[in-house]
Point group: C2
Chain length 226, copies 2
DNA sequence: TTTTACAAAAAAATCGATAAAACTATAGTT
DNA sequence: AACTATAGTTTTATCGATTTTTTTGTAAAA
């Protein structure tokens, strides 16, 4: 499921624009593209074997995701990073997700509860790293399951718009994680934190769940000082 | 300042893409373009006297603003509206702006206070309608000053990201207001509400200010049932 | 050495045309 | 009359080439 279908759906599905969009997006989030790198249309054109229009369109789309900076008349570049920006992402994330989690706890039904449990279970079974023997190599499956878990927690908040904002912030945050490198990356107690968040959530202990979630984010945030 | 320079900066500045973007954006927010209207590249091309590429790029940008819907392989259309969507905008707006206002009150300095006072004063001096003799015709200057006032209130929240989200929601909300038509539009006590919000804000009465702001939004929201 | 001016090169923005896909209308079939 | 297949039409998506704008490099002037 993971690799092949992912590649297939990326490579064969939809317009060239959306393919370029997905590819670029992934490369930026995964940190393969250095922040600030100039994104020359001509180069990308060659890289993906497509014309200039789809490339520009994809870049325009990425601009609104906060992953690409655009300056009128002088092109696109991979969004630059900064301590301040990261701090802002973290802050905004805490605010929005806290709200979303609280609402989710208020409104969520049984089906929602179960989807949270399931997402947690799946996440718990996936190794975080696929590096052989000690070496850390981020596991894309874990990455997906982790995102899904956090999405499920807040999925019942009742606001598609809020969820979209959270999604965007999540991706930006992952980008910073990836850029920080494997050095600071693996935190061993993260899985336990997930469990505690889930526990409080299922108990409908709003305040406790919110506190734990926000602490969880702050915790991961502390790592990235560079 | 208002008309001429606005026209000038729209018509002569920047790339064709951004000009098309600004024009379309305005037309959609002002409600000149019916929700669901097909946005055919060919038509827009002629309308603005430009090529297909800038048109598509502008449309891509508007997509991420939530003002245009795009369906892969079958083009763009003016974002559809719905009761649910409006309710969501209102809800999300209350959540985000409440947070933003609270933070702003916590962090704002004297300069910020003064900018709020100034924005309020300017708003208070501008008539809401420019329709002659009873007829209601929305005043673009008022519209700008109103937006500025609400921006200033939360400007000191310390999170550019949050401000961007609020901005986007504000615009979407204005769109609904404009679509609802002049019928339901003018609320006479709105100016008084602004004053009360400002008062509580300047007094750093966090809870009170937040309540008033949210009530203010809910109030305007009640009008749009159709 | 720093500044300025200008020409050459590179890149961005845009255009006009073509290929591909989706829609429409029509005619034939059940 | 309802359904299906198909040819023709419209619209979208994409390309390759052209025009503008920015950047770079070099040499003259201060």
């Amino acid at each position: 499921m993971s690799l092949i279908s992912a590649v297939e759906s990326d490579e064969n599905t939809g317009s060239l624009t959306s393919r370029a969009y997905n590819n670029l997006r992934e490369d930026i989030i995964e940190g393969k593209l250095e922040p600030g790198t100039k994104l020359k249309v001509e180069e990308l054109r060659k890289r993906y074997g497509i014309g200039a229009s789809p490339v520009r369109e994809a870049l325009s789309l990425l601009t609104s995701d906060g992953l690409v900076d655009r300056i009128d008349q002088r092109g696109f570049r991979v969004a630059i990073v900064s301590k301040e920006d990261f701090a802002d992402i973290l802050k905004a994330r805490c605010w929005l997700e806290e709200r979303a989690l609280r609402e989710s706890i208020k409104n969520g039904d049984t089906e929602w509860e179960e989807s949270v449990v399931l997402a947690f279970y799946r996440l718990s079974r996936e190794p975080r790293s696929i590096g052989s023997e000690g070496a850390f190599l981020t596991n894309p499956d874990w990455e997906n399951l982790h995102k899904t878990f956090h999405q499920k927690l807040i999925a019942a908040c009742g606001s598609p718009i809020l969820l979209e904002f959270c999604d965007r912030l999540y991706d930006q945050n992952v980008r910073y994680r990836n850029l920080a490198g494997s050095a600071s990356y693996p935190r061993r107690d993260s899985q336990l934190e997930h469990e505690h968040i889930m526990q409080a959530t299922l108990d409908r202990a709003e305040d406790l769940a919110a506190t734990r979630l926000v602490d969880h984010y702050r915790q991961t945030g502390k790592f990235l000082e560079k």
